[in-house]
């Protein structure tokens, strides 16, 4: 579904070149639920923005759903974002000028979907996150957890195959975070591929697979987790 090989991303400013990602390799299979962890500034968000076609990369290859992404023009990238990818951001990123209903409608309109189908999908998605009764509310009138559920509804409404979430629970308390996590698990069970960046080890442990990024590179966890686990047990003892 999502395959990066020897991928690199360099941020150039006048004075410095920052390698946000270097020789970055990852292969996420269709239907997987992957949690991405790593220290702050390690390149997790950078990875996600490139994966989600929000940004271009400097070197290497990225195949999304079998398509070599670097060949695509801006319009084609917009279309893929719109049809195949759902985004969930740490800061929710709802449009403050639009009510809940209109927020969920945004990606559907860009897809050129007919009004009746839009309405059906919006109500289904809001139903799913338990906020159908708040359709006319504005984001500012909702709690953080509710806003994030609206954002999930917005990501879901277009039935994306790939869901990218950057610390979706980072701004939420434990209970709200659990609710969001349960929703993501449910969506995963229905067949979506999910890549989620998180700082929360508990949430990460609920994913099928953990990818650890340090200093812009994926660290192989097939060896290390056992090592860490072993250490942990030793420490416990």
């Amino acid at each position: 579904m999502l395959k990066m090989t020897h991928l690199s991303k360099v941020y150039r400013t006048e004075v410095v070149e920052t390698y946000a990602l270097r020789d970055f390799n990852i292969d996420v299979k269709e239907g997987e639920f992957v949690a991405v962890t790593g220290p702050s500034g390690s390149g997790k968000t950078t990875f996600l923005t490139i994966a989600g076609l929000l940004e271009t990369f400097t070197g290497g290859h990225y195949h999304l759903d079998g398509i070599e992404v670097s060949q695509l023009n801006d319009n084609a990238r917009s279309k893929i974002r719109n049809e195949k990818i759902g985004f969930i951001f740490q800061a929710f990123n709802l449009i403050p000028d639009l009510n809940v209903y209109d927020n969920v409608e945004v990606p559907l309109r860009y897809r050129g979907m007919k009004g009746a189908e839009r309405k059906q999908r919006i109500m289904d998605a809001l139903e799913r996150v338990g906020l159908a009764s708040r359709a006319k509310h504005y984001p500012a009138e909702l709690s953080g957890g509710q806003q994030q559920r609206v954002a999930i509804a917005r990501a879901l409404a277009g039935s994306p195959r790939l869901l990218l979430a950057d610390e979706p629970t980072g701004n939420l308390d434990t209970q709200m975070a659990r609710g969001v996590m349960e929703l993501l698990e449910e969506i995963h069970r229905e067949g979506a591929t999910i890549v989620m960046v998180t700082h929360d080890p508990e949430l990460a442990s609920r994913a099928q697979r953990n990818v650890h990024i340090i200093d812009g590179q994926v660290v192989d966890l097939s060896e290390e987790p056992r090592f860490h686990a072993h250490n942990a047990r030793v420490a416990d003892a």
């Binding site: 929000l54 801006d74 319009n75 974002r81 719109n82 740490q90 990123n93 945004v106 860009y110 950057d166």
Partner: protein
């Protein structure tokens, strides 16, 4: 396409929206009326007088120390001298001429027993040279005969036996086109009076006044076969082709050589007809230019307001533009969002503005000499302002479309 959500979002930005819409409305109202005034002034400016304007020189003359008899004989001498000049085609003497600014007017009737004249008309004292000197075109009947010309004192006007009138006046008093040979009555008393037979019709001859109040009878002229024995009058001198410039110096020189007992005012005493026209329409031209400047300034302010507000909104909405891009909006979608938004604000503005424009015109009509605004001006103004809005919004909208999708992930 996405009108509903744009309107929904605008509701959350009422102040800016209303401000710009009002600015558009006021601009439309003022620009429509100003353009209408400009058009009216300009159409006046280009109105033909019936005079061979590029060949005519006018000289304002007043005799010093002359009674009626000597004034008449001096004027006759002048005319002979002028007509004898090598560069002169013909010359005549009159109380006034088109666009001069001052002149004489009388009511005109076809029935002497009716009190109310059909219309007012100007009276030009003329002789058998006048039509040729003015360069007017006789289209029916005949010129005055030399023996028909009478020298009269300035206060002893009575109805002449023959008159030559302008075509416009002929059609006004005899709408069936049968004026030639018919009598008209110059309204000197309430009723009664002697008939004046229309012996000739000239194609066009404007009155001396260029003000709006004269627009009802701007081409109603009557040539009477009188020459004034008064001290004041104007020579109308028609130059041979290419001789006009030379005559502006030669004519006053010759006149003073012929008789020094005269005053030709230093200002406006000797004027080519081009100067006459220029001076007659000075205030109209000034008004048109002022209105034009007002329009340009207003349009520029409105455009600047739109650019300013949209730029501000684009800056304010960078994040949500990034989010929209992340959710699948193309650059074109973002561009068209801002263009559509502007069009909606503009539509609100021009609806109010069109009503204001018509209201403002009705007020001008009732308080000043203004005509009713043609709806075409409103339509053109509406289209122009909508286009202005789209043009003004283009640069900030392009800037918005270049906000990268990754902006969605940047923390505020």
């Amino acid at each position: 396409m996405q009108i509903k959500p744009i309107l929904a979002a605008l509701k959350r930005h009422k102040a800016g929206t209303v401000l710009i819409a009002l600015q558009i409305a006021l601009t439309l109202a003022i620009v429509c009326n100003a353009l209408f005034i400009i058009q009216q002034r300009v159409s006046k400016l280009v109105r033909p007088t019936g005079v061979a304007e590029s060949e005519v020189l006018t000289v304002q003359n007043s005799w010093v120390g002359a009674d009626d008899a000597t004034a008449a004989s001096r004027t006759k001498t002048d005319l002979l001298a002028l007509r004898g000049m090598p560069g002169v085609r013909d010359a005549s003497f009159s109380n006034s001429y088109p666009l001069r600014g001052g002149g004489m007017s009388l009511g005109v009737k076809t029935d002497p027993d009716v009190k109310k004249p059909i219309t007012g008309a100007t009276i030009y004292y003329s002789d058998d040279h006048s039509i040729d000197a003015l360069g007017a075109k006789l289209i029916a009947g005949r010129n005055f005969l030399p023996q028909e010309i009478r020298w009269v004192g300035s206060n002893e006007f009575d109805a002449p036996a023959q008159v030559i009138i302008s075509k416009a006046l002929a059609h006004k008093v005899y709408p069936d086109g049968s004026a030639l040979g018919k009598p008209i009555y110059l309204a000197l008393g309430e009723t009664g009076g002697k008939p004046s037979t229309v012996v000739g019709i000239v194609e066009r001859l404007q009155v001396p006044w260029s003000g709006n109040w004269a627009s009802n009878f701007v081409e109603y002229s009557v040539l009477v076969p009188y020459q004034s024995t008064g001290a004041f009058g104007s020579y109308i001198i028609r130059a041979k082709p290419g001789q006009l410039d030379a005559l502006t110096k030669a004519v006053p020189a010759l006149l003073f050589k012929t008789n020094r007992m005269r005053v030709i005012p230093a200002e406006r005493g000797v004027r080519t007809f081009a100067q006459v026209r220029d001076e007659a329409y000075k205030s109209d031209r000034g008004m048109a230019i002022l209105m034009g400047v007002v329009c340009a300034v207003l349009l520029a302010i409105t455009a600047a307001g739109i650019v300013g507000l949209t730029s501000f909104w684009v800056g304010q909405r960078r994040k949500q533009i990034g989010v929209r891009r992340a959710l699948g909006a193309t650059k074109h979608d973002i561009l068209s969002y801002f263009l559509t938004e502007n069009l909606l604000i503009g539509a609100g503005g021009v609806i109010v503005g069109a009503a204001l424009a018509i209201g403002m015109n009705l007020w001008l009509v009732s308080h000043f000499e203004m005509e009713r605004l043609s709806l075409l001006y409103v339509v053109v103004g509406v289209v122009a302002l909508l286009l202005l809005g789209q043009g003004a919004v283009l640069a900030p909208a392009m800037k918005a479309s270049r906000v990268p999708p990754v902006e969605a992930t940047r923390s505020v």
